[in-house]
C-alpha cells in the first residue's frame, strides 16, 4: 500500500491491511484506534449513520495530520482512514494506526491524530432515528478566519 491510497473510503474499512504496511523493526509499539458506529446519541436510539465528505480537502488534510503527528511525536508511521456512505451499528467509521519505539508515543500520537481529524477534516455525520427522522451532528467550524476557540465554542466531540 502506498501514499496514493485513499484516506476517505466508500467501502468497509479493514484493520489487517493497515497492520501489514511497512515493517518498522525499530518500533516496539503499534497503536490502533477504531471508531465504530454507536447505537445511541445521548438517550436517543440511533439506527444507522451516513458520513459524507468534501474529498479534495479531506484527502489533503488527513495526509497533513498524519505528517504533523509523525513530526510532533517523533514516530515513523501514522495512517488514518475514514469511511463515508451509509453505515450500520458496529461498522468501522475511522481507523488510526501509529507505530513508535515505545507505547506512550504510540497511544498519544494515535489519540492526537484522531482528535485532529474530528476537528479539522470536512466530514459530516447524519444520524438516522427510529421515528424516521434524521439529523446532522453539530460539529466544529473550520473557517480559517475565525479563532479556533470561537469556532469550537459549545461543541461536544
Amino acid at each position: 500500500m502506498t501514499d496514493a491510497c485513499p484516506r476517505v473510503r466508500e467501502v468497509p474499512l479493514q484493520i489487517e491491511p493497515l497492520l501489514a504496511i511497512e515493517p518498522h523493526p525499530d518500533c516496539g509499539a503499534l497503536g490502533l484506534f477504531a471508531g465504530t458506529v454507536r447505537n445511541h446519541h445521548g438517550h436517543r436510539p440511533v439506527l444507522r449513520l451516513r458520513y459524507s465528505a468534501y474529498r479534495p480537502l479531506a484527502e489533503r488534510l488527513i495526509r497533513e495530520i498524519e505528517a504533523e503527528t509523525r513530526a510532533r511525536f517523533g514516530i515513523p508511521y501514522c495512517r488514518v482512514e475514514h469511511r463515508v456512505g451509509l453505515l450500520e451499528i458496529g461498522e468501522l467509521a475511522i481507523l488510526c494506526v501509529t507505530r513508535a519505539p515505545h507505547r506512550a508515543e504510540a497511544f498519544e500520537a494515535c489519540r492526537h491524530a484522531v482528535d485532529e481529524v474530528k476537528h479539522r477534516v470536512p466530514i459530516w455525520k447524519e444520524e438516522f432515528y427510529a421515528d424516521g427522522t434524521s439529523r446532522f451532528v453539530e460539529g466544529c467550524c473550520i473557517r480559517p478566519d475565525l479563532p479556533r476557540e470561537r469556532a469550537h465554542a459549545g461543541v461536544r466531540t
Partner: protein
C-alpha cells in the same frame, strides 16, 4: 459573472439541493456572495456564518475575490470520527 456553490452536509438539506449558482457583479468577494445567498434564505445565515469555503483543496478567506465560473464548496461545521 456566475459562480457556483457546492452545498455539503446540513446545508444541502437546508437548501434542498447539492449546488446553487449565483449571478454576481465583477469583483464580488466571497463575503458579499454569501450575503446574497442568505437574502433568499434568511434561515440559512447562522449556518452560513459558520461555514468554511474551499476552492478545490484549499480553504479561502471571506475577502477572496470571486471570478466568473468559480466553483466553491461551502463546508458546514465538521463532525467526522
Amino acid at each position: 459573472m456566475t459562480i457556483t456553490f457546492e452545498l455539503h452536509g446540513a446545508l444541502a438539506r437546508l437548501f434542498g439541493r447539492d449546488e446553487i449558482s449565483l449571478t454576481l457583479p465583477p469583483d464580488t468577494t466571497l463575503e458579499a456572495a454569501l450575503g446574497q445567498l442568505a437574502e433568499g434564505a434568511p434561515d440559512a445565515w447562522p449556518i452560513l456564518e459558520r461555514c468554511a469555503c474551499a476552492l478545490e483543496d484549499r480553504l479561502v478567506f471571506r475577502s477572496q475575490l470571486l471570478e466568473d465560473g468559480m466553483r466553491l464548496a461551502l463546508l458546514p461545521p465538521v463532525a467526522g470520527g
